[in-house]
């Protein structure tokens, strides 16, 4: 028997081309002198009215082919001049607003696209950008959640209070439950903005074929089908005239799920208008000011609990900064509001949020997508309860866990996919035990005391999360066994480094009984799989993995049926090993899959030696149609996977840090992760995902923030000033232990793994730093993340202050 590949650390098949410099990222497509290059005139103001745009100086510039403003779009017969789509409408989003592909009359953030230039190369295009004169009447900007709530000024004149949405969910009478609780605490917390920052920014290439009237688009996106639909609508084309190909993508982390970006429409429009291939490649500064950010929230929590720390009432209110527009709806704050609960079961929960406009870059999901904020709120609350009761922090958490025999567990809320927030499986007490062992939780107090005696401050923190992964609506897959015996697999969602070509090939090899090297996987190409949703919410393995498994099963069923006929045996006696179908226990009676593929397609015309076997004078019962009723020619399998609801992965992180008593520098001594994503397809890849998530979490907790000044200028829009971690900032070694609680919702028992590593970071670092500081400063409390050494120093200067969240015992 072939060894099962599921669960083994198979080396990645895609690495060969990447390591040789043969990857094809979007800027590597159409490297040709005839390709034209686009650049964008962007607003230098956070909030302004456009008085006039003068492009006359550009027209004389040699090498410029087009310069467009909103007025040029308004003259078109297609909906290009209408606002960009509001992708995910929600009844609570009463005041959703989206921008125009090119600003019409008003700009609402520094970086908003105002004019579009196409030229011979990017250098000339940028020269032209510099020659476009835009007169602005500057308006007062709204920057930050406090200013947005104060609403002294409005981002959009027709959005009162700057409130895009108000939403509330509750499971009972929280006020009564709070009043009845033996103990109560209040917390006020903030989290700042950060961003995905993939190493490759956005980019789009488009080519119009005048002979076939078809448009071909390459885009660095997380949803090729989404881009395709948007481009077709906006350019007034039939869907069948548009192909979107997602080439290699240099990281996404969420930002590339939003679509269509202005350039994703303007580039195809230019290609069609000019009859030339056109390319736009975002530069790093543009990525900072014209893509998307995430994370910024202000939170107020009231909690009631008993002597064991059990949550009797949890009342959360938060304010979410969604930037200037809401193309991605309320997904991020809805996730915060629901996933905040983590592995716990408060008796009564109420959450209310306002999603607020500010004159800053839009906010759309960044790895974790609202969960890091929710986890931070919940875990800071757990730490506060433990502190108040003077109990062990792990113990208080354990007292609130949903127990293994309580699944499926309905939290009584509606999740981001419009379905019930019902956890499918998990074992949180087992995870906690593993984590405590992995990090040495029980031994830590002795170590801390020993270090304290030597004048050193070390602290430990832990944080738990539950992550709804693999949300619908669906993904599909197509498996085609060619006459060569090679297996071609297509699924529509895209790949940004997750190793899909490897893990999906593992699944096909296992199910079909073929060699993995004979399997080739294509993702994100609408020509190969036109029905797909996209890569987000840790859903690729769950959704496409399941669909591919099912499609391979169908192909196998057909292969066995045809082989059984050819071999004149019962198909139940057949097995497929290394691409050969044979009778179990009698390997001499066999037929290879390539030949089965030949036989699957009744031919009139032979094209080679093998295909002669399938021609009309060689095969077939003259008394029956060559293709039986209900059958199809070809050895293929196609299927879709559409689960009722998400599957819930979970995990727990712990970190040990040391803070310098003098410089307030924060050093990571140990980082431990327990992770449960159900069955692992490829543990090497899952661990890689965790490593990367933890690193982004370290960045988000200790270094990264979007530094806007009061006028809405992003002061640190470069890698020199936005401090992404190098290796020197990341722990040397991350200890990982897995728990495998299979999901009952999909055939492979898997759960998503992509985002998990980043979710608990702000929470776990806040806890550990606070614990270290309390060695010397017993009342120091961390309520704002990220935290830099200078901010920690400032906190020390303010010490002692009464703990702001501590209330009188009732």
């Amino acid at each position: 028997m072939t060894t099962k590949l599921m669960g083994t650390p198979v080396q990645r098949v895609e690495d060969q081309r990447f390591l040789r410099g043969h990857g094809r990222y979007v800027d590597d497509v159409a490297v040709d002198e005839r390709t034209l290059h686009a650049a964008v005139v962007r607003s230098p103001h956070a909030h302004a009215r456009i008085v006039d745009i003068d492009v006359s100086a550009v027209l004389d510039l040699e090498g410029v082919h087009a310069v467009w403003t909103y007025d040029d779009l308004a003259g078109l017969a297609t909906p290009m001049a209408e606002p960009l789509p509001l992708l995910i409408p929600h009844p609570a989003l009463t005041h959703g607003r989206t921008q125009y592909a090119l600003a019409r009359a008003e700009v609402n953030y520094v970086g908003e696209a105002v004019a579009f230039v196409v030229a011979d190369d990017r250098y000339v295009a940028e020269d032209a950008v510099g020659l476009v004169r835009v007169d602005y009447e500057v308006l007062p900007p709204v920057v930050g959640i406090d200013r947005a709530r104060a609403a002294d000024h409005l981002v959009h004149d027709d959005v009162p209070g700057n409130v895009g949405a108000r939403m509330e969910q509750k499971t009972g009478d929280v006020e009564a439950a709070l009043a009845a609780a033996p103990h109560r605490l209040q917390l006020d917390l903030t989290v700042e903005r950060s961003a995905c920052m993939p190493m490759e920014g956005r980019g789009t290439v488009a080519r119009w074929d005048p002979d076939t009237h078809r448009l071909q688009v390459w885009s660095s996106t997380q949803t090729s089908t989404g881009v395709r639909a948007a481009v077709a609508v906006k350019l007034g084309l039939d869907l069948g005239q548009v192909d979107v190909i997602t080439p290699d993508v240099g990281g996404g982390f969420g930002v590339k799920i939003n679509h269509p970006w202005p350039e994703e429409l303007l580039v195809p429009l230019a290609a069609r208008t000019l009859g030339r291939t056109v390319k736009f490649t975002e530069d790093r500064r543009e990525h900072f000011i014209s893509s998307a950010h995430e994370r910024g929230q202000v939170q107020h929590i009231e909690v009631g609990f008993d002597d064991e720390g059990r949550l009797l009432a949890l009342d959360v209110e938060f304010w979410h900064d969604h930037g200037a527009y809401t193309p991605y709806g309320l997904i991020v704050p809805i996730i915060t509001s629901t996933q905040l609960l983590g592995p716990y079961k408060p008796q009564v929960y109420r959450v209310r949020f306002e999603s607020l406009y500010t004159n800053t870059v839009i906010v759309t999901p960044y790895r974790g997508a609202g969960r890091p904020q929710g986890c931070y709120a919940m875990e800071r609350t757990m730490d506060a309860i433990a502190d108040f009761l003077d109990r062990d922090r792990a113990e208080v958490r354990a007292a609130n866990f949903i127990q293994p025999d309580e699944f499926p567990f309905d939290q009584g809320l509606v999740f981001q996919d419009g379905r019930e927030l019902e956890y499918d499986s998990g074992d949180y007490p087992a995870s906690l035990e593993k984590l405590k062992a992995l990090v040495g939780w029980d031994d830590f107090p002795a170590y801390q005391a020993e270090m304290a005696a030597a004048g050193r401050r070390v602290g430990i923190g832990l944080a738990c999360y539950v992550e709804g992964t693999g949300v619908g609506p669906y993904e599909g897959a197509h498996v085609h066994i060619e006459t060569s015996g090679k297996v071609k697999v297509a699924t529509g969602l895209t790949t940004q480094g997750q190793g899909h070509a490897t893990v999906f090939a593992q699944l096909v090899a296992d199910e079909l009984g073929v060699r993995m090297e004979d399997v080739e996987v294509v993702t994100g190409d609408t020509r190969r799989m036109p029905y797909a949703v996209g890569t987000f919410a840790s859903r690729a393995a769950v959704m496409s993995g399941s669909a591919i498994h099912l499609a391979a099963k169908r192909a196998k069923e057909k292969a066995l049926r045809i082989a059984a006929e050819a071999l004149e045996v019962d198909e139940r006696d057949l097995e497929i090993v290394d691409g050969v179908v044979s009778v179990k226990g009698s390997p001499g009676t066999s037929i290879d899959l390539g030949t089965v593929s030949v036989l699957s397609n009744p031919l009139r015309y032979a094209f080679d030696e093998a295909s002669k076997a399938a021609t009309q004078f060689s095969v077939g019962d003259p008394g029956r149609p060559p293709v039986a009723e209900g059958d199809e020619p070809g050895l293929e399998g196609k299927d879709f996977y559409s689960p009722e609801r998400a599957t819930f992965a979970s995990g727990m992180h712990a970190v040990i840090v040391e803070t310098d008593p003098l410089t307030a520098e924060i050093r990571i001594l140990k980082y431990a992760v327990v992770h449960d994503c159900g069955h692992l397809i490829n543990p090497m890849i899952v661990e890689g995902q965790i490593h990367g998530g933890v690193a982004q979490g370290v960045g988000g907790a200790l270094y990264e923030r979007m530094a806007y000044d009061e006028s809405g200028q992003l002061l640190n829009a470069s890698f020199m000033d936005f401090l992404m971690p190098y290796v020197t900032e990341i722990p040397d070694g991350i200890d990982i232990d897995h728990l495998e609680t299979p999901s009952p919702l999909n055939p492979l028992g898997i759960k998503g793994a992509g985002e998990a590593g980043v979710i608990p970071s702000a929470a776990v670092f806040a806890a550990a730093i606070e614990d270290a500081e309390r060695v010397a400063l017993p009342d120091l409390t961390i309520t704002a993340m990220p935290i830099s050494p200078s901010e920690l120093h400032a906190l020390r200067q303010r010490h002692p202050q009464p703990r702001p969240h501590r209330q009188e015992r009732s």
Partner: protein
């Protein structure tokens, strides 16, 4: 305002290329767009991320911080030049494949060139030196854990080759 072009010869991976470029053309753009060597990636264009790192006479430089015309007379090595003559992966590339040292692959060329130069300079690095060797390159996917392992593995592979020859 048309740019004056300069006819220069760039020597890349042992092959001479005659190109006509404006003075302001970055080396990274010349490699990618004029020579079609798209393995060298551009991540920030201000010299911080290191994705565009190439070797200039064996020393790592940021191709985005250099003009193409100023590379005349130098031997440039890009990621495309790191495989062996027989087409198999070079030791650093091989180590990355074995250790899962890459995910999206965008930053990878800069790491490969940097480590190639680093190990030429110090073929037996300590663990700390392996970390230092890559401390000027950004990766957003891997958290660096497996890249550090790959540096250590590459050093092993190079040592094994030395013993074998």
């Amino acid at each position: 305002m048309s740019d004056t072009r300069h006819d220069v010869r760039l020597s890349v991976n042992g092959v001479g290329h005659d190109v006509s470029v404006p003075a302001r053309r970055l080396l990274s753009d010349a490699l990618r767009h004029d020579l079609g060597l798209t393995g060298t990636h551009v991540g920030c264009e201000h010299g911080v991320c290191g994705a565009c790192t190439v070797l200039l006479d064996g020393r790592p430089v940021r191709a985005c911080l250099m003009l193409a015309v100023s590379a005349v007379g130098c031997e440039i090595t890009t990621v495309e030049g790191l495989a062996r003559d027989d087409g198999s992966l070079g030791p650093v590339q091989q180590a990355f494949a074995e250790c899962h040292g890459l995910q999206c692959g965008f930053c990878t060329p800069g790491f490969l060139t940097t480590i190639t130069a680093g190990l030429a300079d110090n073929p037996t690095p300590t663990h700390e030196e392996c970390r230092d060797m890559i401390a000027g390159n950004l990766c957003r996917c891997t958290g660096y854990q497996n890249i550090v392992r790959a540096v250590e593995r590459a050093a092993e592979l190079i040592a094994e080759e030395g013993e074998a020859s």
